[in-house]
């Protein structure tokens, strides 16, 4: 489904060019939960950003269902149609209600009914009119999950989604994510393997190489 081939990334650090990773290849099949693990600064977030077209790699190719998406300018449309995102910070829009934040995921269709259903399933049915600042950290991240899921994306990209949460809440968030992503694949970066489900495929990014 999502296929990355020979991705390389480096950046300019003063006068020297620093290699982050090279020749990384990865395949994400439908329904897969792929976790990218690695120490801080290993480039796992950068890899996730490249896989999701938020950033471009120095070289390599990414295809989605055999269509190359790494050399197109229509990355916004690709993200809108296929991907959902959860970040370490919830990035909820502070002046919108919980429901409006979830509905903001789709600018073409008003998915009010789906948003309410999803929020109820995530235990936020009583909070739909509240603003983000009225919620706890875990609740905010659940709203971010609802925003990522409401359009029924093919792939969810989660960049350290539990990093700012305590251990118990982090486990709950991952459980909710897997429970509500039956039809979608998940690509998740984390430095904490304990929170991952047993069925997930784990890829380690160390010293610029991805080891499956």
């Amino acid at each position: 489904m999502l296929k990355a081939e020979n991705l390389s990334l480096s950046y300019q650090d003063g006068r020297t060019r620093r290699l982050i990773f090279s020749n990384v290849s990865l395949t994400v099949e439908e329904g897969d939960f792929v976790a990218i693990l690695g120490p801080s600064g290993s480039g796992k977030s950068s890899l996730l950003y490249i896989l999701s077209t938020l950033r471009a790699a120095d070289s390599g190719r990414i295809s989605l269902n055999d269509v190359v998406i790494s050399d197109t300018k229509k990355t916004c449309e690709i993200r809108y149609q296929n991907f959902g995102f959860i970040f370490q910070q919830h990035f909820l829009i502070p002046h919108l209600s919980v429901l409006e934040n979830v509905m903001a995921a789709d600018y073409r269709v008003k998915r009010r009914k789906e948003a309410i259903e999803l929020l109820e399933q995530l235990g936020l049915g009583d909070h739909i009119r509240k603003r983000p600042h009225e919620l706890s950290g875990g609740e905010r991240q659940r709203v971010a999950i609802a925003r990522a899921l409401v359009k029924k994306p093919r792939i969810i990209f989660a960049d350290e989604p539990t990093a700012s949460l305590d251990g118990k809440t982090a486990g709950e968030i991952i459980k909710l994510l897997t429970a509500h992503c039956k039809d979608a694949s998940i690509v998740c970066t984390t430095h904490d393997p304990a929170i991952l489900p047993k069925t997930c495929k784990v890829a380690h990014l160390t010293d610029g190489n991805l080891l499956l």
Binding site: S45, C76, Q81, F85, F87, F91, I93, P94, H95, L96
Partner: protein, 375 residues
């Protein structure tokens, strides 16, 4: 707009500043328009049914030869011997010219009949008395009444020499005053000038339509006489107000630009603080131009609300001013006038463009994904 509903103080500050500027621009442009319209009424509308003929600057009178030539023009029905003086009318911001025409009693009677002026109070002036009849709007503007006296003998600032009693007021297309005997002419008579034959000026009446006659008169090339037609006076008036209009446009531009810079500074801070919001929207698939369109829509809506509120408040304020001051002076003021809409519209457009420019620049230079990465 949800942002401003959630952050009312910011929304209200921007609305208030824009509202104030619209209010000022509307009031100033309405007052200037009113002044110009009143001046136009007294100048251009003085000659709606006839034109004037006057000697050129170097001559004091019109020669018999010229007079006969004018009388024989096929477009001219009659020329009445007249002495023309300039009075003034007050407007809120300045004084404007107003004509006082002295004719023989018979000519005056004929003029009133031909032009169907309606005497609404008093009577026509008669020969042998220093009397005038004024158009109702001039009378109201001067704050005078039938029976009052008028002229330099009674008012130091009045340019009409001598003293005249106002014996009537009339309603008609020509906003002007008429008299019979003129003090200056009578002084000339005392030194031997024949008042019956000396032609100081003339009222030229058209055979058919005034425009047809004026088209001919406007093209008469003479060194000894000049015609003052409606189009001629209109042209002079337009030249005079050109400067005022330019000045007004300049003032409005300065106001709009200053206010826009102030609003732009506030908005720039507002949108800078919302970069997280735009970063996440961009990440989940919104295009930059969609985000930018929504920002533009927000700003435009704020400015339009200010525009409507500003115009509403201005109309109310002008209504009050009209009731308290203008109507008593006979000065017309259009509460809803095209000029004020135009100028406030231009001010809104300037504010929109000037406030948007730094935001466009900021947006074009910002990598929205970096905002998310930084966290």
């Amino acid at each position: 707009m949800k942002y401003y509903l959630a952050n009312k103080s910011k929304g209200i500050s921007i609305l208030f500043v824009a509202f104030l500027s619209i209010f000022c621009v509307y009031i100033v442009s309405a007052l200037v328009s009113s002044m110009l319209e009143t001046a136009r009424d007294a100048n251009v509308n003085a000659v709606t049914s006839f034109s004037f003929v006057m000697p050129q600057d170097s001559a004091l009178t019109i020669s018999e030869e010229d007079w006969t030539e004018i009388e024989n023009m096929p477009e001219v029905r009659a020329v009445y011997q007249a002495f023309i003086e300039s009075s003034y009318i007050d407007t809120i911001l300045a004084k404007a010219n107003s004509f006082v025409v002295f004719l023989g009693e018979d000519d005056l009677n004929r003029l009133f009949q031909d032009n169907r002026y309606e005497i609404i109070e008093g009577r026509l002036p008669v020969d042998g008395a220093y009397e005038v009849i004024m158009h109702e709007r001039i009378l109201r503007n001067k704050g005078l009444q039938v029976g009052d006296f008028f002229g330099s003998d009674y008012d130091d600032g009045e340019s009409v020499v001598g003293g005249y009693q106002i014996v009537g007021s009339f309603r008609g297309d020509d906003v002007i005053s008429f008299g019979t005997d003129n003090c200056q002419v009578d002084q000339y008579q005392d030194i031997g000038v024949d008042a019956d034959t000396t032609k100081y000026a003339g009222v030229v009446l058209p055979q058919g339509a005034l425009e047809e006659m004026n088209q001919v008169l406007d093209h008469v090339d003479s060194e000894s006489i000049s015609f003052q037609t409606r189009s001629d006076i209109q042209r002079q008036y337009d030249e005079q107000i050109q400067g005022i209009n330019l000045l007004m446009a300049f003032v409005i531009l300065i106001v709009a630009v200053s206010i826009s810079i102030a609003i732009g500074a506030v908005l720039s801070t507002v949108y800078q603080s919302r970069m997280d919001e735009y970063g996440i929207l961009f990440a989940i698939g919104y295009r930059k131009r969609m985000i930018f369109a929504s920002i533009s829509k927000e700003i435009l809506l704020l400015l339009l609300i200010s525009w409507i509120l500003g115009i509403g408040a201005s109309v109310l304020a002008l209504g009050g001013v009209n009731q308290a001051i203008f109507s008593k002076m006979g000065q017309s003021i259009a509460l809803l006038n095209a000029n004020s809409f135009l100028y406030t519209g231009l001010a809104i457009a300037a504010m929109f463009v000037i406030t948007l420019l730094p935001i466009i620049r900021k947006f074009a230079k910002t990598d929205l994904i970096t905002i998310i990465e930084r966290r």
